[in-house]
Amino acid sequence: MDTSDLIRSLATNAPAVKRLRPPLVRALGWLLLAAVIMGLMTISHGVRPQFAERMQDAVFAINMISSLLTGILATIATFFVSLPDRSRGWLLLPAPPLIVWLSTIGYQCFAGWVPVPPGAITVEAASGCLATLVLTSLPLSLLMLAMLRYAAALRPTSVILMGSLAVSAITATALSMFHPLDATAMVLGWNLGTAVLFLGGAAIFSRKMSQAGGVRDDGAPR
């Protein structure tokens, strides 16, 4: 098709569109919904035992605040970086709290600090944990997917990874409020692991598709 024909056909099929709100407003909207989901889950589960005592503990408090900050900043970064005219530098926005958050997880693992209630780590508890995690993160992921679907044509990989980080961090914060076990590793594994799985699958699949696509490009099978 000739470019001038394409231009004419695009111009004749261009109904009015609703402009996107500024990225900061959209990020705040998403965070508000995340807060609502977190609140509902906390109400339905009840705040974890000894929550106030745990908050006295510096490492627990730092862990929670840094994961919340990571979530908020990663959300803002996701909405900014999804637009074509914004710098990729936004991807670095959640880096400082992320480093603090990951280092507190590392510290907890290293020091074996978490006082696990006796008999808490069972298959039932872990699967219940996973169910809560899916229930919390799935609506957030789906909403983000719907809000950022246009980014598929631009920077899908960085947007998906940053969005997954945002969902992970928010979910981890929520879970540490009402879940008796510290499930941060599972949360990160679930959200970022799923994102990496999808990206890996897409990379392999797209290569296969492009090889098969060669047939279509040439117009004749080889």
Partner: protein, 216 residues
């Protein structure tokens, strides 16, 4: 970063290669480039509100500019034109993401670079798995194809001649002239059901006639 992009926009435009009359005259100074960017912002804002004339003007004005931008990534004229079309299609799909309060240039360049790099990657993969077609390949393929085609054509014409008149008409109208069943029915006065039946029988006869001939 945004400042850099705007500068790049100006620099590329001032090279003035095939950027069209408007772009050429408008891009002589940074002020002129900035005013052109403002024009494009206004046109895009109107296009978002459903003004098709403004959208048509905008796309016609940016097309030469995009071509000059893509030329930095691609050398092949077909690649350049395909990339420009890719950019226009992406722009059309995500036109709601443009914020009229911000300059149009960086938004456009962001999309353009993305599409140009995508095509560059695709070309890279193609080069890895495809070998260029040489004259020798073409010569052998064309020779064998044309001889086979000629034989097939003669055989088919003969086989068609051997069919009963109704079947021949059905094949002629439905398969060779590609008429719809309704049109063929109106043209011949035959019912759709009998046309279908005639075509079915004709194809069966042709198949047996042609396979017989191939056995000789």
């Amino acid at each position: 970063m945004e400042h850099d992009r705007r500068r790049r926009l100006t620099l590329v435009a001032t090279e003035g290669e095939a950027t069209g009359e408007d772009a050429k005259s408008a891009s002589r100074s940074p002020e002129a480039a900035a005013s052109r960017d403002l024009d494009w912002s206004i046109l895009m804002a109107r296009a978002q509100d459903g003004d098709n004339v403004a959208y048509l003007r905008l796309l016609q004005e940016i097309a030469p500019y995009l071509r000059s931008l893509v030329r930095r990534w691609h050398k092949d004229p077909w690649d350049i034109e395909d990339t420009v079309q890719d950019i226009l299609l992406t722009l059309h799909t995500i036109r709601h993401t443009y914020d009229p309060a911000r300059p149009f240039g960086p938004w456009l360049v962001g999309i353009a670079n993305r599409r140009a790099i995508d095509r560059l990657r695709r070309r890279g993969r193609q080069v890895l798995r495809e070998a260029p077609l040489t004259v020798e390949h073409e010569a052998t393929i064309v020779a064998s194809d044309s001889r086979d085609d000629a034989l097939d054509k003669d055989g088919l014409t003969e086989a068609l001649g051997g069919l009963p008149p109704i079947q021949r008409t059905a094949i002629d109208l439905l398969k060779l002239r590609e008429m719809s069943l309704k049109e063929a029915s109106e043209a011949t006065g035959l019912s759709i059901a009998s046309l279908k039946m005639a075509t079915h029988r004709a194809l069966r006869n042709l198949r047996s006639l042609l396979s017989d001939r191939r056995d000789w």
